[in-house]
Amino acid sequence: MSTEGLSHHISSRYNTDLERVRSSVLEMGGLVERQLTQAIGGITEPDARVMVRVAQEELRVNQLERSIDEDCSRILATRGPTASDLRLIITILKTITDLERIGDEGEKVAAIAARLALRERPNNRYREVRNLGEVVIDMVHDTLDAFARFDTKLALEVLRRDRTVDEEYEAIHRQNITFMMEDPRSIRRALDVMWVVRSLERIGDHAKNICEYLIYLVLGKDVRHTKIEEIEKELQAPRG
């Protein structure tokens, strides 16, 4: 299926309904992405006000989540969607949960960023956070892009990156343990960094979830809890 097919219903109001709920998801995604960018930016460049701004976005994100939920229930109740329409509604309902959680994780990162801004900065200026942060922001960005265009290739590409995030997370974890053992005065900072990278790793998982829903939406294949190699095979195989 493609995004174009959305607007081909005989009922034009149905078209409008589906199109509206889809663009709300994209709007919500855009806000979440901005929250995340600000939060990570607050860590690499000290910014005591980052928390306030991220929290402001959060209000709008929550509002959108509620209104999308409502729209979806209304469509389910009145239209009895089937096939790709049904998959779209299911996908949207699940996607916004993950988006909302990405927002929550972003908020946690922002809270730590605000705290770190008041303290002395390490020599590397939290380079590890910045690197992982960039990967994760890209993942979220591409996930939304894939969602906007129903692009399963890009979704698969994002799924592949989740492994990099997990590996990076593990590496930072080990590194911080070393720091803490070498110098107990670094414990506080190391713990903060750990919280941040933990959040980033979770965000990667949420982006991955959304990409899996998207593959379900477009191809009708449920690829959750499946190894990436098997997903690749599955996507090449004809309709199962």
């Binding site: 081909h8 005989i10 969607p81 089937t82």
Partner: protein, 305 residues
Amino acid sequence: MEQLVRSKPPEAESSGFLPVSDIDTGVIPIRASGRGMLQVAVDETRRTAALRAPVKARVEALDFYYGELKALKSLTMDIREKQVTALIGPSGCGKTTFLRCFNRMHDLTPGTRYEGCIRLLPEDINLVARNIDPIEVRMRIGMVFQKPNPFPKSIFENVAYGLRIRGVRSQIRIQEEVEKALRDAALWDEVKERLASSALSLSGGQQQRLCIARALATSPEMLLFDEPTSALDPIATARIEELIAALREQVTVLIVTHNMQQAARVSDYTAFMYLGQLIEFDETSRIFTNPGQKATEDYITGRYG
């Protein structure tokens, strides 16, 4: 792997709503796994039962003509025993024509002609063969119509009628069978006190259930429903749907419906027809979550191609 028949129009993917070529030749094995975040009515035990269900009627290259007009084009599909198979498709696609072939309703229309066969198993008799008596066919395959059509007789006589035609003489046996049929049609409790009153005094929904009881009385192997609820209110509709679900314990059901949600709710298999052709035939859960053909998708989601 289960072998379900699935027609494969080679061009339907790209051509939108109108399948262009002669399509029913391709038969490919399909996998009927229950994957997917949501499947309508997934009940694993039922599913397995459905897949193991033997074939009750085998439709093979069935053509049907109204004079010169070819209304059914080489239909091939298997109707499984004690399962509900729904026929869907836009008006004029041939679904009712197809349904009526099963109990030879077309015999009364001059100039009609059947080609190919509908084999009723296990005896393997061709229902549409000329040498097969339509009366016998109708005893074995009952039909329920869109509008309830009880005879202008008593409730009791409506159900007893088929038994009498069959030559059942024993009053006791007739009474037993009538009660059983009315119970099976979920009508007994509502009418047991007034079996002698006119069938026309019943409500529309009750009349329809009476027609189902009438069809059940002769213990048919198959029941055909031609939009059985389109003239009924939602409550009566829900009762009939409940009934259909219960009936599959004893008979094979074939139902034509314009109500897509109804097809999704009551059937195990769904066939989508268009312009006299079978476009897609698959498990209902799959047709309504992830159909294989674009034409099917467009129809069930209310799109134009």
